[in-house]
Symmetry: C2
DNA sequence: TTCAAAGTTGACTAATTTGCTTGGTTAAGT
DNA sequence: ACTTAACCAAGCAAATTAGTCAACTTTGAA
């Protein structure tokens, strides 16, 4: 049972976006530095999120990404599935042909588990996460940390 | 979110064992043919299950494996964790050092998910599964299918 | 006592997936 | 024009998975 960084990055980036894009769009470069995710990898993930209709890209200077819907209307399950990480623990993707075209001994067990996981993550929206204390604290800490990074960058340029 | 065949095979094999080892021990060869799992791969999994104290090996002719405890005393979560498939969806294995030694933005979310999964699977025992209609049907079908295989084998030897 | 059935162990491997990198093109604001 | 940022495509190295192969040990039965 493993969630790869793909799904984790996608949710983290979306949460960062929800937190920072109240008015202006947010650039992937900003998200990448705050969340320490590779920029080009983020681009790939956002291509999928855009195709899934969850974010809107704004090109040109001052551009970036915005949520296409309200944060409370985007749940975690759909983010993870949008980047192609299936929330499914069966071998047969729920088809029931796990063993010689018939259901395997434990098919129903994994179906139940998958429903459990999907149900749990469907019940949580980006909006829900935003209201959590822990998320707010971490987000503030990250803003401080990245400000420091920017000062360092400017000092290097100035020197 | 993906459960690998490692964990799935382990649970399937344990369920097969629970179903067939009412008196005599069951050989891995039998389990391998019934569940279409590679024998040598099964051996690796059972080595771990044995070290975890869940099964007992009986050597020599007529040997095989037996459950060390009652089927109702073995839950699915411990089987999966015994074969080294962690039921944990955080990056940091729950340590909270996911980003530069501090908790990442979504740490709590994955902790909650992991608890959810573990709780669900802890609440289901091999004994519970045995009583399910679907499991009984599939197990009977598999016994028929493997009998057919054996007849074919004998016919080939006879010819 | 010897054979063979079964468990036990360890090393090695092919295929797949992941998490990137590189190197672009296109659109929009200044 | 120039810059900024989204958008796109191909390729690649490390890790993981799902095994195979080959040897060895223990034990019951003939």
């Amino acid at each position: 049972m493993r969630l790869t960084t793909k799904g984790r990055y996608a949710v983290t980036a979306m949460l960062d976006l929800a937190y920072h894009s109240q008015q202006d769009p947010v650039t992937l470069t900003d998200i990448a530095t705050r969340q320490t995710i590779s920029l080009s990898y983020l681009e790939q993930l956002f291509a999928r999120l855009r195709r899934a209709g969850m974010v809107t890209g704004v090109r040109g200077p001052g551009g970036g990404y915005r949520l296409s819907r309200a944060a409370s209307e985007i749940n975690i399950a759909e983010i993870i599935e949008a980047v192609d990480e299936p929330l499914d623990t069966t071998k047969c993707a729920g088809e029931g042909n796990c063993q010689n075209n018939k259901a395997c001994l434990t098919h129903d067990l994994w179906m139940g588990l998958s429903d459990q996981i999907r149900g749990y993550l469907k019940g949580i929206s980006l909006g829900d996460l935003l209201t959590r204390h822990h998320v707010q604290e971490v987000a503030k800490r990250q803003e401080q940390d990245t400000k420091v990074v920017e000062i360092h960058r400017q000092q290097r340029v100035g020197a």
